[in-house]
């Protein structure tokens, strides 16, 4: 692996590049928030970031620890009640990109953030769906960012919290969904997109220093590669500087490293 940046920095940078100034993006906390703000501070200054706490067009100087930090409200164009956020702005179809994280993800980009094990007697009780089930259905399309391990990219989900492409093919349309659903998954090893027909996630770009075998080993299903897999351009000096400054400001503001 090329020295000079970490796999998770590559992941956040690659995700940020998928966003544009024209997007209205519904942002999840954690890595999605880092990617969205990196985009805003580099190539997509016009992007509108929306957080489920009701903050619209927010321009935080530090990354929020929680989805409703004061920083988000203080730097927002406006802050609306949470019911309005979900009713008018999300369900009303105003959001172009929903940006989600995932505890577990399957080959059709369905997401589990509810339980590991059975629902009634879970091995691990995860936080739950929050805004994600409707972000996954109401945004024009969704991007997912996740760490690439066999425990995250699994063969079979324990629970479908947020619907991606279901069982693949036209499953979304059969359920009456008119939005595109997950169109990009960015991990710390590669980028995947759903196949046009089957909707199965397919590796389209490998990050610098990553071999196909690394991805195969870290994926809980026999992962497919697109013909002519690309090489993800490494982070530029500018991208890394802005991202690291953002994390440094955030650590200072939150009283120490996460």
């Amino acid at each position: 692996m090329t020295t000079g940046y970490s796999p998770s920095e590559m992941m956040v940078v690659a995700a940020s590049r998928a966003l544009s100034s024209d997007d209205v993006c519904f942002v999840g906390i954690g890595a999605p928030s880092a990617a969205c703000n990196l985009a805003r501070l580099t190539h997509a200054p016009g992007i509108s970031l929306v957080y489920e706490s009701g903050t619209i067009d927010t321009r935080p100087d530090v990354l929020p620890l929680s989805i409703g930090d004061g920083e988000l409200c203080a730097t927002a164009l406006t802050t609306v009640p949470v019911a309005e956020m979900f009713q008018y702005w999300l369900q009303g179809g105003r959001i172009t990109i929903g940006f989600l994280g995932a505890a577990q993800l399957d080959r059709f980009a369905n997401i589990n953030t509810t339980v590991i094990g059975s629902y009634d007697r879970p091995t691990v009780r995860l936080p739950g769906g929050g805004g994600a089930p409707e972000i996954a259905s109401a945004c024009q399309e969704t991007y997912v960012i996740a760490r690439h391990t066999p425990r995250v990219l699994v063969g079979m989900l324990d629970f479908v919290t947020s619907f991606g492409h279901g069982e693949g093919g036209d499953h979304r349309r059969r359920l009456g969904l008119t939005t595109r659903g997950p169109s990009l998954v960015v991990t710390d090893l590669c980028m995947l997109r759903p196949d046009d027909e089957t909707k199965e996630l397919t590796v389209v770009s490998l990050h610098e220093g990553v071999d196909p075998a690394d991805v195969e080993e870290a994926t809980g299903w026999p992962v497919r590669f697109a013909p002519g897999v690309e090489r993800t351009p490494s982070p530029t000096d500018d991208e890394l500087t802005v991202l690291r400054d953002l994390h440094r400001r955030t650590e200072l503001a939150h009283g120490g490293p996460a």
Binding site: G68, D69, V82, Q91, V124, L126, G131, E134, F163, G255
Partner: protein, 271 residues
């Protein structure tokens, strides 16, 4: 009609064992002091309703106040798990905790329906989600005009809503601003409403005609509790104590350490 009373009295006169209690505040304005008063008063068998249980419900659950939780996202934001919530769900400690689990959109809509006096809320939601299979209170309705199939959830109508706000005037009119979450809806959906405030002022001085103001006749009890939202925050008064949210991960991980913390910081101390 609002009466201005001490916190102890506000909770004692509104919250009874077995009640359904909604303490709202979305990251911001979480009514911690009121939650701690409920623990001190030893309330039991509560159904706790809250979109994001947060540390306040982790504490109430670990202290044995709750038998059921209605929620949509139960983590320590940006930090990890709520260990007391997990211990109750995974190991029945200190007792079993029944879950009614929703999405944020459904909870917000359910409060909205409660405030609007409707029996249920329709939403375009839960499509393809297994939450439908584990929560029998998520149903399906057909639009009588278009035939579209929609999700439906019953209105939330708590016995008591408890919120924290910036200030009230001497008549008990309440102003809240910043990230305002679902507090207005929760108050209007509930049979009784308690508001803790940072201060009582002569003139509410609402910053805009469109400010969120709860008239005194929509509120039952107002209690002055400076710092009543700590370790969450009150915009214009103090910031979120993110370091405490991080520290809670360790404090709450162990049953004994948690119980000692509650004994020292909640049961012993009255505001």
């Amino acid at each position: 009609m609002a009466t201005i009373v001490p916190l102890q009295e506000a909770i004692a006169t509104t919250v009874a064992d077995g009640d359904t209690v909604a303490m709202e505040g979305f990251t911001h304005l979480i009514p911690f002091a009121a939650g701690h008063e409920i623990i001190r008063q030893g309330r039991r068998e509560l159904t706790l309703v809250r979109m994001t249980p947060d540390l306040v419900y982790d504490q109430l659950i670990g202290a044995g106040c709750a038998s059921k939780l209605v929620f949509s996202w139960g983590g320590n934001p940006g930090v990890g798990s709520l260990h007391r919530l997990r211990d109750a769900v995974e190991h029945d400690w200190p007792g079993p905790l029944e879950l009614e689990e929703h999405s944020h959109a459904a909870m917000a809509n359910a409060y909205w329906a409660g405030a609007a006096g409707l029996p249920f809320a329709p939403l375009r939601g839960y499509v393809g989600s297994d939450l439908r299979d584990v929560n029998p209170r998520i149903a399906e309705v057909t639009c009588p005009f278009t035939g579209e199939s929609l999700a439906a959830v019953p209105a939330l109508r708590p016995d008591v809503a408890i919120i924290h706000a910036q200030r009230a005037d001497r008549d008990g009119n309440v102003l809240l601003e910043g990230i305002v979450g679902v507090q207005k809806e929760a108050v209007l959906a509930a049979a009784r409403a308690v508001v803790t405030v940072e201060e009582i002022v002569d003139d509410l001085a609402a910053p805009s005609p469109n400010s969120i103001v709860l008239p005194r006749w929509a509120v039952d009890a107002v209690a002055v509790v400076p710092g009543g939202a700590r370790p969450s925050y009150t915009s214009g008064y103090y910031d979120r104590d993110n370091a405490f949210y991080r520290a809670w991960d360790d404090i709450s991980r162990d049953r004994d350490r948690f119980t000692a913390w509650i004994a020292e910081h909640v049961r012993r101390e009255a505001p």
